[in-house]
């Protein structure tokens, strides 16, 4: 093995204090970027969770609607018109909206009601841990998530409360359907949802369209679009993209997360550049000696870049361990941090780029060094 590696690693490990400072810098920066980006992806996944779980080939939503949570309304009659279009197998309405939930002891808390056909093709609650979908058919039956038991003042299947003066009863309990708005979701049958939200008769929020086997998705989409005015017809992917764009960029939340990540990158680069530069300065006579005994610039660059890479790899590994801990820790929170393999690869690449950029600063210092300095000391 070349002594390049020996020189680089011993330069690095010899000054423990500086090495630890460098690692703290890298770990801090990588974890910050990881959390920001993890939140970004977590948020991005969260805002599409309803769309992810709806059995639709196409969505019909109001013209200006920017996300699933958009409260614009559609006419119920639209459904019959769409059903006549060739290739359409079924059209299921979904209604959504805010409502006040009155706890048994009298206080109120806002909830987000999702009403749909719970028998077959609607937007049904998932991850049931108690009760059943069948149990949601009778009037007043609702499904809530167990995370929100305290907020809703219920203790499980059989608990009762009131929405808009209507008595409701928990008939099913889900696990992990959490809302990024922190307002609890309440699933219920379409027939009663309108009354809870206070919708005018014959108004709904969205339609889920299912196609017949073999139907041409794009063709049907255009057919619906031209047959019905005042609506957008979107594939689930398009609708998800729209929702993400709205929540992440329309609200500035995404930009804030990116700005945080950028800050992490800058802080990390500055710290690594600073420590690598001062390390290189401390070893300047050694680099000048290398140069004096005739070593090429490439050899010297390799030593410095290897130092940077060693920093990067060790720092990244530590950051990754912390990252996994954070993922574990937030997995059951309202906003889980999502770190995919792609994000991990990207972060590693970023760490390497950050460290090498820092190495370039140190290299410019060495390039300016005249080997003749070793003669006069």
């Amino acid at each position: 093995m070349s002594l390049v590696f020996t020189l680089a690693s011993r330069n690095l490990f010899q000054d423990r204090l500086r090495f630890v400072a460098t690692l703290i810098g890298i770990v801090f920066s990588v974890v910050l970027v990881m959390v920001q980006m993890g939140l970004y992806f977590g948020f991005g996944r969260m805002v599409t969770t309803m769309i992810d779980h709806a059995p639709a080939d196409l969505w019909i939503v109001a013209k200006g609607a920017k996300s699933f949570e958009d409260l614009s309304l559609l006419d119920m009659q639209t459904r019959d018109k769409v059903l006549t279009i060739n290739g359409v197998a079924g059209v299921t309405p979904v209604v959504i909206g805010f409502a006040d939930w009155r706890l048994p002891e009298g206080s109120m808390t806002p909830v987000f009601v999702v009403g749909s056909d719970l028998k077959d093709d609607g937007l049904k609650p998932w991850h049931l841990v108690a009760g059943s979908l069948q149990a949601l058919t009778p009037p007043g039956a609702v499904a809530v998530d167990r995370t929100y038991f305290d907020r809703l003042g219920v203790s499980g299947v059989g608990s009762t409360a009131e929405i808009r003066g209507h008595q409701v009863k928990v008939a099913a309990v889900t696990d992990g359907i959490r809302s990024f708005t922190t307002t609890p979701y309440v699933f219920t049958n379409l027939d009663y949802a309108g009354a809870y939200i206070g919708l005018p008769a014959n108004k709904v929020s969205h339609f889920l369209v299912r196609l017949k086997p073999g139907a041409d998705l794009d063709h049907v989409r255009q057919e619906i679009q031209s047959a019905v005015s005042g609506v957008q017809v979107l594939t689930p992917d398009q609708f998800k993209q729209k929702s993400r764009n709205y929540w992440l960029f329309g609200t500035g939340a995404g930009m804030a997360l990116f700005a945080g990540a950028l800050l992490g990158v800058i802080v990390g680069t500055v710290i690594v550049a600073q420590t690598l530069y001062s390390s290189t300065k401390d070893h300047l006579y050694e680099f000048a000696t290398l140069r004096a005994i005739g070593c090429s610039n490439r050899y010297i660059y390799t030593v410095i870049i290897l130092q940077a890479l060693l920093n990067a790899v060790i720092g990244f590994l530590l950051a990754a361990i912390i990252g996994f801990a954070v993922v574990e820790f937030t997995a059951r929170s309202a906003l889980p941090i999502v770190i995919s393999n792609d994000l991990m690869f990207g972060l590693f690449g970023l760490t390497v780029v950050m460290c090498i950029a820092s190495a370039l600063v140190a290299i410019t210092r060495v390039v300016r060094t005249d080997p003749v300095m070793v003669m006069s000391r």
Binding site: L3, L7, I293, G294, C295, Y299
Partner: protein, 240 residues
Amino acid sequence: MNEPIVEARNVSKTLGTGAAKVKALKHIDLSLEGGKLTVLMGPSGSGKTTLLSVLGCMLAPSEGTVRICGSSTDGASRERLAKIRRDHIGFVFQSFHLFPTLTAAENIRLALDVRGERGARARTRAREVLTRVGLPHKIKAFPRDLSGGEQQRVAIGRAIVAEPSVILADEPTAALDGENGQAVMGILSAIAKEQNRAVLVVTHDTRLIGFADRILRIEDGALQPEEPNRSNVYQIRSSA
């Protein structure tokens, strides 16, 4: 006749700028041949280190030319000069300049490593050289665990391991006591003879003159006319 390994023709060197400008070398003509240890002496500030730096291709002359093994260094880039040093020149510095994080053997091997010579052969070669300079038992020792004399011997090992044609040593014994100084000069002299190298040693120490095949004196940047040394130079010259 022997082709000179190092050749300086009419070399002058001005150092510093403005008021601090010093003409450190003045019209130096000098050839160094293989097989000889040349000692360069002169008062402090006379230009010894500057001459060594110019001959060793670390400083470009302000005037005149330097040729190493027949090729001129005129207008060579820094990278090209580094290559000339790598291919032809071994340096021994007054303050050793060993790498504190490398062992004795690794310090020597470094000179091979920068030349792209690696692996088992380089290790063996470094060990041989360490034996050659009398430190076979110090392979794993770090510079901080070696005496000054031992460190300088490691530095000589580093200078000779890649078998350069010329070895330039700037006051290699200045930091050593008399006994160690003698030992270091002995090694340098033996290398010149056994391996037909040109060795140029700067020293202040008149006790070391006995090792010289040739003595050069420099004063105020100018080489003084040579007088044959009382030792074996004279005999070699007259028998040739």
